[in-house]
Amino acid sequence: MSLIAFLGAIELGFIYGLVALGIFISFRILDFPDLTVDGSFPLGAAVSAALIVAGWDPYLSTMIAITAGCTAGLITAWLNVKMKILNLLASILTMIALYSINLRIMGRPNVALITEETILTPFTDLADMLEIRSYILMPIVFFIFAVIVKYALDWFLASQVGLAMRATGANSKMARANGIFDGRMILLGMAMANGLVAFAGALFAQSQGSADVTMGVGVIVIGLASVIGGEALLTPRTITRATLACILGSIVYWLAVSLALNADFIGLEAQDLKLVTAILVALALILPGSRFAKFIRKGVKS
């Protein structure tokens, strides 16, 4: 594997680390199997790309993209909490609706951002100034994004509201008996989760130079692979360790994918990404201990 491929994998690892943190909130904290992310990831990309191309400030565009993601999460949570639709089904409904909405937002299947000024432009300028390649600097930039988000999430989950959210997912009847409005906690947590995923989508589009309507396919599987892979590596006993595991799992996942695609003797190419993803997840399911298997079954059952 070349240095460029290696650093590219690290960069993707940190971006998708945000997706893993979002999925950690929905699947782990709230025990809510949420497929909305397959729609909110491209939603973040579409909103930020469409606004940037239309001449909006890239920071404001990214903020709006995050808000759009939060709204998507709120809709899923609302369908579940207020309309009493099964959580998994509610998330599938939002996901499928977002496919059309993303096409509407962009007006076409993809939007190029290569020539536009994005929130990453200052960093590429900085790289030019320091006379280093931007592919060396970018992993550092995304590392900082991921660390900030991780610590913010740790801080939130250690607050009274954060604890109430954790109780809601762990034992909702007990939570209600202790005065926690569990419905509100699900609304808040799902908004946070999908806001994070949309943020990752916006960063991904700006880093890769385009937004594409199909880029959300399989995000949920990648995110789950990261969450569970990370847990297998770190066996988290505390929240701070669990969030660290999400990011670590994401990096390991992308390194594994990069290795598979770059090993010439296997003959895999970029279009085989989803196949490799599926095989990696299948392997995780089959491997000894198979925590993954239990987790997936539990997720589908609830």
């Binding site: 250690a158 009274q160 604890l163 762990a170 009847k173 209600r176 008996a177 926690i180 569990d182």
Partner: protein
């Protein structure tokens, strides 16, 4: 003080599965009274507790706590007035949270939760002090996960949790029935002490007639979703299990068939 007026709940209304769980239940418990509630399976004991806690909507009737009509309040809002201990030791706490986090959840019952730290330092000292009275050594295990404790330990902690904040009504739903006899006795003594110390208004549902007569100052029997027997004061003193059965059969003209009520 809690007043239940003509509580009615029917499950699966209009279907072949229709079950009348509560059929006009009336119960008034004055402030500071400890009432034990007995009744066979299907008599409406648990339904009544869930209705008071707000987990089940009423078809008819009113629930009034401290002169406030809470019939339409959602469960979390009622939690400020009503504290609960569940039958299942696993139901009253979160096994994936630590002991102090669980206690902290209960510590904030009825209060506004913000972005302050989940376990404030001042609260931690209070938790330690409360736990030490159990004599189980839990005061040194505040950071342990709740799931590591035995059923009896969890139930004892649940009881402490329910008394961390003042409540207008404490509801105990067969909270010792899942424990072995020795631990059950320990939890019952703890219940008696906590209720007395805090002068709590308590409604304890139990499956055991013996327990119902031994604890509290008033015993109520439910049958078919309403109160069929209500003894307190001198009438209750010296009453044994056979007397209770006789009283039931006399007032109701029906034979008590549920053997489980006779046990213990």
């Amino acid at each position: 003080m809690i007043v239940c007026e003509n509580l009615r709940i029917t499950f699966n209304k209009g279907t072949v599965m229709e079950t009348k769980a509560l059929c006009g239940l009336d119960l008034t418990v004055p402030k500071g009274q400890f009432v034990s509630v007995i009744g066979s399976n299907g008599s409406g004991k648990s339904t009544a507790q869930n209705a008071i806690a707000g987990e089940l909507p009423l078809d008819e009737g009113r629930i009034i706590v401290n002169d406030i009509d809470i019939s339409k309040w959602p469960a979390p809002k009622r939690a400020g007035l009503v504290a609960r201990v569940f039958q299942d030791p696993l139901a009253g706490s979160c096994e994936n949270l630590t002991i102090e986090e669980n206690m902290s959840l209960a510590y904030m019952r009825g209060r506004r939760r913000g972005l302050g730290r989940s376990v404030p330092k001042s609260a931690r000292d209070e938790f330690r002090e409360k736990l030490s009275r159990l004599g189980l050594g839990l005061e040194n295990r505040l950071g342990d996960l709740m799931g590591l404790l035995s059923g009896g330990q969890r139930q004892a902690v649940s009881l402490l949790m329910a008394s961390l904040q003042p409540s207008s009504v404490l509801m105990l739903d067969e909270h010792t029935s899942a424990l072995d006899p020795r631990i059950a006795a320990f939890v019952m003594e703890l219940t008696r002490d906590i209720v007395a110390e805090n002068n709590l208004t308590a409604i304890m549902v139990t499956h055991s007639m013996r327990q119902a007569l031994d604890y509290g100052e008033r015993t109520v029997m439910l049958h078919g979703g309403r109160v069929v027997l209500d003894v307190s004061g001198t009438e209750r003193e010296g009453l044994g299990v056979p007397d209770l059965i006789q009283m039931f059969e006399r007032t109701h003209g029906e034979e008590l068939s549920d053997d489980s009520l006779l046990l213990g």
